[in-house]
Symmetry: C2
C-alpha cells in the first residue's frame, strides 16, 4: 500500500460499511413488515418473486441458482409453499428427474398483493432519492457489480 493510495482505500472501506449498513437496514425493515403484517418471510417472498417472473415455472435447480441458495433450501421452501397451495410441482415431460415449480392462481394473487406492498415500502424507504440520484446510484452500483461478479467467477 502506497502513501498516496491510502486515503482512497480508507474511503472505500468506509463507503462499503455504509453500503452494508444501508442494505441491512432496508432488508431488516422488509423482514419485519413481511413477518408482522403478512405473516411470511423474506425467503418465501424471494421464491414467489422468482416464480412470478417465470410463469411457465422454474426447475428446482434453476431456482436455486437464480436465488443463490442451496438446493436443499429451495426444496424446503417450495415444500411449504406447496402445502399451503401457493405453489405446485409440475413434472417435466421427457425428464423424470426434473420438476418445475410454479405459482398456483392463489400463489399468484398472494404474491401480487405482497409485491404491491413491498413496492410501497421501498418507495417510502427511498423517498429521499430523485430520479437523477437513482440514475447516478444505479450507474455506480453497476460498476461495483461488474467487479464483484468478476471476482465471483475467478473464485468458482
Amino acid at each position: 500500500m502506497t502513501a498516496v493510495s491510502e486515503p482512497l482505500s480508507k474511503a472505500r472501506l468506509r463507503v462499503w460499511l455504509k453500503l452494508l449498513k444501508t442494505s441491512n437496514g432496508i432488508e431488516a425493515e422488509i423482514r419485519r413488515n413481511l413477518r408482522d403484517r403478512h405473516n411470511t418471510t423474506l425467503p418465501r417472498f424471494d421464491v414467489m418473486s422468482a416464480l412470478a417472473r417465470f410463469p411457465e415455472g422454474l426447475k428446482m435447480s434453476d431456482l436455486s441458482t437464480y436465488l443463490k441458495v442451496s438446493n436443499g433450501n429451495v426444496t424446503g421452501i417450495v415444500d411449504k409453499l406447496t402445502e399451503e397451495g401457493m405453489a405446485q410441482r409440475v413434472a417435466v415431460p421427457g425428464d423424470k428427474r426434473a420438476q418445475v415449480a410454479r405459482l398456483t392462481e392463489k400463489g399468484k394473487t398472494e404474491f401480487e398483493n405482497l409485491a404491491s406492498h413491498h413496492e410501497n415500502w421501498i418507495d417510502t424507504l427511498l423517498d429521499g432519492l430523485s430520479l437523477e440520484d437513482l440514475e447516478t446510484l444505479s450507474d455506480t452500483l453497476e460498476r461495483v457489480l461488474a467487479q464483484s461478479t468478476e471476482k465471483e467467477r475467478a473464485d468458482a
Copy 2:
C-alpha cells in the same frame, strides 16, 4: 399511487434490487475469503472488529446491540473466541451480572492481520470508484440511512 409517481417508484425498486445484489455480492466474496484464506467466518470477524474498536471492552449486551444480533448469538461467538484465546471476559466492577468482552493480545494481532486483508479486498472490489464517486455514493446512502433508521425506531 398516482400516474406521475409510478415511474419513480419502479425506478426505486430497481435500484433497491441492484443495491441488494451489490451488497450481497461483496459480502459473499468476503465470506469466501475469510473461510478459504483465513479459516474464519464473518460473524467472528464482526465481533473482533467491534472489540477492536473498543479496546476497553464491550458489555455482552452492548456488543449485541452494536452488531444487531441476538444476545444468545453473541454468547456463542465470544465463547468460541475465548476458547481460542482471541478474546476474554472481564468482570465489571460493581455489577456481578455484567461482563465485558475484550480482545486478548493474540486476538488483537490476529484481527489486525485480518483487517488489513479485508481492507485490500474491499479496495479491489471498489476499484472502479473514484474519490468523487465515493463521496456522492456516501451522501446518497446517508439520506437513505436516515429514512430507514427512522422507520426502525417507529417499528420498535
